[in-house]
């Protein structure tokens, strides 16, 4: 049995077996009902960390087990849950205790909110009788998470718990996905249910009815606009992945001959090697993708939110384009960019409706030829160094060895942008990165969650030497749960992205961005009973990567790369997409 197949079993087996068979008609308390509710929702794994306020919940879990991943820090747990959610499409479930346990989740909750990931987060709370008295480990997690959740609940009465569980999962996983926090006071977790009705209460959300079906007139208008466009462009965002509209996107691109670009989070929604794919757009996007946005006469945004890292200066964004914006969240339409044809809908339904219009493809051959020419003139580039290994070369090597088939998670920084540029993805939902919040420390735990969701796939975490150290404690999980994640540290001895900005915009004043003293990452791996590799010479890289990445075991690779390498091309802050610097031209 391969290590990958073992993963899921290891996770499933790690919880002790039920101590005593649950007896029918035995009165259930809040905790038991919570565990039952999670099972009813089909929850296959929980990411969590125990503590005083959740003792009753963990006791119920002991008696009625669901596989549970004990992270070594709540932040690790929630990023793992995000990785799981991103790859599986199912809500990630997190449990943490009150006070510090709950506040340790704040970064992950915000990250999930920004990137629309479905999470259901259960936090313990002090007993109802002492809420508001600054009791031991009390934190107002409802107040704290109010602006960073899609919705949150404090369970005041155990009778509300079954309904709230159902609502939390419903809200997290429908419409525009997002995190929901359910705060459970300790006494509620031990209160006994009185009636059967309480246990079977249904979802009651009169104020929540997301629109998924597009307006027919708007679809007709959009079809008309596409039909007569000469230079149309599709911008595909994460909404395509959330709506699982990849097939519809591909059909649209191919049958209407429309070139397509991606946001950072939309990568994978179209195959990276598709002939009509122009690469990622935005701050570190390709020259061609950004020029296509600047020159197109019709921009069809499917499930992207016109984030500032994508648009650059809004004044000069897509100046010649009519805008069609398909989004499940009406509030995103018109927020940053005025939109002529708004379509509030699920991406799949909207694209399907458009395809059903069966309009003739616009004549785009000149436009496509022009863009192809630009791609040849100004490709992604770097200058190979005689001695030093370049991070871009490393990513291309990883790509070659894994044949573009790995699930890639990244942390935040230069390595993230290089991974986005050079790890051309074959598969959708195989790309896990922190886009909206840009959370260092995300990449490695997210890989753990991704591997648990897809035990049979190869998962490579591409992280920086800085960010990896923010959640490195989760190395504990790899051997314990036989999670064969491949951790690749692109070690440039610097907070590279900060250093690059200081080089470019602050006259090379490297204030607090160089890390000359580092742990021995190989020994660190060994301390956790993992195989560690170090790449110091570019000649050795291929062979070491090959051995490490193709192994069935979890591994860590400390890959030393050139410190002073920069991510190019780039749209400087405040500049327009058409003003890229560091563009190669032949």
């Amino acid at each position: 049995m391969s290590a990958e197949v073992q993963t899921k079993q290891a996770v499933m087996e790690m919880t002790p077996k039920s101590q005593d068979e649950k007896q029918n008609n035995q009165p259930m308390d809040g905790s038991a009902v919570l565990i039952q509710g999670l099972k009813d929702q089909g929850v296959e794994v929980i990411f969590g960390y125990p503590g005083g306020a959740v003792l009753p919940i963990y006791d119920a879990l002991y008696k009625d087990p669901i596989p549970h991943v004990l992270a070594r820090h709540e932040q690790g747990a929630i990023h793992a849950a995000e990785g799981y959610a991103r790859v599986s499409g199912k809500p990630g479930v997190v449990i943490a205790t009150s006070g510090p346990g709950a506040t340790n989740l704040v970064t992950g909750i915000t990250d999930a909110m920004m990137d629309s990931l479905p999470l259901v987060v259960f936090t313990g709370q002090v007993a109802s009788t002492v809420i508001g008295t600054d009791a031991f480990q009390e934190a107002d997690i409802i107040g704290i998470t109010q602006p960073i959740t899609k919705h949150n609940y404090q369970v005041r009465d155990v009778a509300d718990l079954p309904r709230i569980i159902k609502e939390a999962f419903h809200i997290a996983s429908t419409g525009r996905r997002g995190p929901v926090v359910v705060d459970i006071p300790k006494n509620v977790a031990t209160e006994i249910f009185v009636t059967e009705e309480e246990r079977t209460a249904e979802v009651n959300l009169p104020g929540y009815q997301p629109t998924t079906t597009p307006n027919y007139l708007q679809i007709q208008k959009a079809a008309e606009a596409i039909r007569f466009a000469r230079k149309p462009l599709i911008l595909a965002g994460a909404g395509v992945l959330h709506g699982q509209a990849m097939d519809e996107l591909k059909t649209m691109v191919e049958t209407k001959r429309i070139p397509v670009t991606n946001t950072l989070l939309g990568l994978g929604s179209i195959a990276g090697n598709h002939e009509l794919f122009l690469g990622m757009a935005g701050m570190h996007g390709t020259y061609t993708a950004n020029m296509a946005i600047s020159e197109c006469d019709l921009l069809i945004n499917v499930g992207a939110r016109f984030d500032d890292r994508l648009t650059g200066n809004l004044q000069t964004f897509a100046p010649h384009a009519k805008i069609i914006h398909i989004d499940i969240d009406p509030a995103e339409i018109g927020k940053n960019v005025p939109t002529e044809i708004p379509i509030v809908a699920d991406s799949k339904e909207a694209l399907q409706a458009l395809l059903n219009q069966e309009f003739n493809a616009p004549d785009t051959e000149d436009w496509l030829a022009y863009l192809r020419c630009m791609q040849e003139e100004a490709p992604l580039w770097y200058n190979v160094d005689e001695h030093e290994f370049l991070p871009q070369e490393a990513i291309q090597m990883i790509h070659r060895i894994t044949e573009g088939d790995a699930i890639v998670t990244t942390d935040v920084g230069q390595h993230q942008m290089w991974a986005a540029q050079y790890y051309s993805l074959n598969n959708p939902d195989f790309w896990v990165t922190s886009g909206g919040l840009g959370t260092m420390g995300f990449g490695f735990p997210a890989a753990i969650g991704a591997q648990i969701a897809k035990p049979d796939e190869r998962v490579v975490a591409i992280v920086g030497d800085g960010g990896f150290q923010m959640t490195a404690q989760e190395l504990s999980l790899l051997q314990e749960l036989r999670i064969p994640v491949k951790v690749v540290i692109l070690n440039n001895g610097a907070l590279g992205m900060v250093r690059q900005w200081q080089e470019t915009f602050y006259d090379e004043r490297y204030s607090q961005s160089l890390i000359p003293v580092q742990p021995d990452f190989v020994k660190l791996a060994e301390a956790y009973d993992l195989k560690g590799y170090r790449i110091t010479k570019k000649e050795d890289a291929e062979q070491i990567f090959r051995e490490a990445l193709l192994s069935d075991e979890p591994v860590l690779i400390d890959c030393r790369v050139k410190m002073l390498e920069n991510v190019y091309p780039m749209v400087a802050p405040g500049k327009g997409l058409q003003e890229m610097i560091g563009v190669k031209s032949k």
Binding site: I142, P206, G207, G334
Partner: protein, 171 residues
């Protein structure tokens, strides 16, 4: 420009916090808020007067409010025919010799005296916010000891004129 927005919400704990938190996070400038129970049990009605720069901003605000799970209905009633009322309690310095003078100049406002002492009188005045402003301006020279305003509450009139003009205070 000022806009009058009414929001129907489910009467959950924390809903007021959620709505005002949203306005703060998105940098909206709230002039006043009122909240209270509505005709439906379990539902409350909020009335906001907000200051926004342009149409886009107001559209964002309405959409962001609508997105809240506990929000049932959002209406921008600024351009409708509406009834809008605010109540103010104003404690005015009013020695016996000036009292009748004050009473006579504020007569058109139909304010009521709800408390009085040797040298002060407390008036209650209701009306559109502009009327309250006018009342305050009028009594200010006599000396205002204390002032408390509720903020405006509003809804649309039964009969809507076509192209009803915008209320002057809202321009």
């Amino acid at each position: 420009m000022k806009r009058v927005i009414t929001v129907t919400v489910i009467n959950q704990s924390g809903v007021l916090n959620r709505v005002t938190g949203l306005l703060m996070k998105r940098q909206f400038n709230i002039e006043s808020i009122t909240v209270g129970h509505s005709e439906q049990t379990g539902m409350s009605k909020m009335t906001f007067i907000v200051n926004v720069e342009d149409e886009r901003k107001i559209e964002q605000l309405l959409k962001q409010l609508q997105k809240q799970i506990d929000v049932i209905k959002v209406n921008d009633i600024t351009d409708k025919a509406i009834v809008m009322r605010e109540l103010a309690l104003v404690k005015v310095v009013s020695p016996p010799h000036a009292r009748s003078e004050i009473n006579s100049i504020i007569e058109p406002f139909r304010a009521t005296v709800i408390d009085s002492g040797k040298n002060v009188v407390t008036y209650q005045v209701t009306g559109a916010p502009e009327k309250i402003e006018a009342f305050i301006d009028l009594v200010k020279p006599y000396g205002i000891k204390e002032l408390s305003r509720t903020g405006a509450t509003a809804f649309t009139r039964e009969i809507q004129k076509v192209n009803s003009p915008q209320l002057s205070i809202l321009k």
